[in-house]
């Protein structure tokens, strides 16, 4: 058994002058205070990576900088799936007895710490260095290739995709920490600057500065009782050229594993936190997992199904698309928001019932999948 005993999240957007370590420290400080723990209580540390601070040993750098003395520490790298992969590992570490309190932390000044071109080029390196990157491919282009095929097979329209961007923006407006607070319409998404067809600017998550952290504990450390009930992963390929399919990925298998470990049915889920690097990412994940029928994610968003007061509230902080995306911390914001919802601390965003939550993240080009089921007893 493991408990998600505390969470911390900075605002996302511009944090000029703040480094990777500054943003990691800010989030870690908040998470420890939230868990009612001191630095000396942390015996396990898991870190992600930072593209603006590429270090061979980020976890030990953070140990020294933040002032920890853990008996277990290292970094984890599976792209966008890193945050949830660290939650899964922390769960197994405390479950096995290897650690009592695992601090998981990520942060990056991805927006102000480098040029826009540098960010685009660094991220494009998840593509194949010999067979894909020389073609001038980018992360949006890899996902756009998937989008073209998925839309061809399932009849999804660009307006359907846009509905998910509109939904995430609607949610972000109610969160003071979100990068974007101006409402957008489907027409604005459709008219936004072309990036890689069919994806336009507003189909893509922004680049952000930010930090996120959480603590996974063997025993409760405060009044919160949010438990990690089940975890799962699936890894099918790295490069989109080598993906077994552009319409079926590892998401379903990953969620099935987490669901079976937790002993729950999909219909039991009351709150969903799903990775949304692009509108097509969210569309495919929702539909493959089974939270919307094929071709129906956009319609469900339009009909209010995923609203705060809808049948299945989704990414109520605004997701990567509108809260922002700072790298490993991006999906961890989904987890922080889930915890706030499950502990009744989501203020104006509070949903009625978040007692059982499903979280799912992907890294690469729908390459690495990690799923979590969280529950309150």
């Amino acid at each position: 058994m493991s408990y998600l005993s505390g969470v911390g999240l900075t605002s996302f957007g511009k944090h000029p002058g703040r480094t990777t370590l500054d943003l990691m420290s800010a989030a870690a400080e908040t998470a420890l205070a939230d868990a009612h723990l001191e630095r000396r209580d942390v015996d396990g540390l898991l870190c992600g990576y930072s593209t603006t601070f590429p270090h061979l040993m980020l976890s030990t750098v953070f140990v020294e900088h933040f002032g920890l003395q853990p008996t277990y520490a290292h970094s984890v790298q599976v792209g966008g799936a890193t945050g949830f992969a660290m939650a899964m590992l922390a769960h197994h570490l405390v479950y096995s007895g290897a650690a009592r309190n695992v601090l998981v932390v990520a942060g990056e000044n991805r927006l102000t710490g480098q040029t826009r071109d540098a960010a685009v080029q660094t991220l494009a390196q998840v593509g194949h260095p010999a067979y894909e990157v020389p073609l001038g491919a980018t992360i949006p282009a890899y996902y756009a290739l998937v989008a073209s095929r998925y839309m061809h097979e399932h009849g999804t329209s660009e307006a359907d995709l846009a509905e998910l961007a509109v939904l995430m923006r609607r949610h972000a407006i109610t969160h003071p920490g979100a990068q974007f607070h101006e409402p957008i319409t489907v027409d604005q998404v459709l008219a936004s600057k072309p990036i890689a067809s069919p994806l336009k600017l507003l189909d893509c998550c922004p680049v952000s500065d930010g930090g996120a952290a959480f603590v996974v504990s063997r025993e409760p450390t405060n009044d919160f009782r949010v438990r990690i009930l089940g975890t799962g992963q699936a890894h099918t390929h790295q490069h989109v050229s080598a993906a077994p399919s552009l319409t079926e990925f590892g998401a379903k298998a990953s969620v099935e594993r987490a669901r079976e470990a937790a002993g729950i049915a999909l219909s039991d889920v009351r709150y969903a936190a799903i990775y949304d690097s692009f509108t097509i990412t969210l569309t495919i994940l929702l539909e493959e997992i089974g939270l919307a029928p094929r071709g129906e994610a956009g319609r469900r968003a339009r009909d209010g199904y995923f609203n705060r007061d809808g049948r299945l509230p989704l990414n109520t902080h605004g997701g990567l698309l509108s809260y922002g995306h700072c790298g490993c911390g991006g999906a961890m914001a989904h987890l922080v928001e889930t915890h706030h919802q499950m502990t009744g601390r989501a203020a104006a965003r509070q949903v009625k019932d978040a007692s059982l939550a499903l979280l799912h993240g992907d890294g690469g080009v729908l390459s690495s999948h990690v799923s979590l089921v969280l529950g309150t007893p």
Partner: protein, 122 residues
């Protein structure tokens, strides 16, 4: 295999698309390596693709990743299902659509040779 030297490969600067196949299990794949990723047998056969295939996915890239590539944008990136049974990424004529029959040609992009596909009548 002695074929190795005779197979033209655009990633090595020669006008051709190379792929590999496994003599043991008949698996075919694109990214070069020294063993079969399905059954582990080694060495694989190096083969020359015909350059014929069908368009599986397309995107018109408007936002290029660098100054060097900006002057080429917008450019069409495609995933092609080669007749030999493997999939590859390449450039293509901006008019290409999913399902089109295509044939490979070669062009220069920012100083590097790359494959670029044109439509052929089915």
């Amino acid at each position: 295999m002695s074929e190795t030297t005779s197979v033209l490969d655009w990633t090595a600067g020669a006008e051709g698309i190379a792929y590999q196949s496994c003599p043991a299990c008949s698996n075919v794949w694109y990214f070069r390596r020294s063993f079969c990723p399905l059954c582990g047998s080694a060495p694989p056969d190096d083969r020359q693709a015909s350059g014929l295939g069908g368009v599986h996915a397309v995107t018109l890239v408007a936002r290029a990743p660098s100054d060097e590539l900006r002057s080429y944008a917008p450019y069409l990136i495609v995933l092609i299902d080669a007749d030999e049974g493997f999939r590859l990424m390449a450039h293509g004529n901006p008019s290409l659509k999913i399902g089109d029959r295509v044939r490979a040609g070669f062009t220069m992009l920012a100083g590097k040779l790359i494959p670029s596909f044109e439509k052929v009548e089915a």
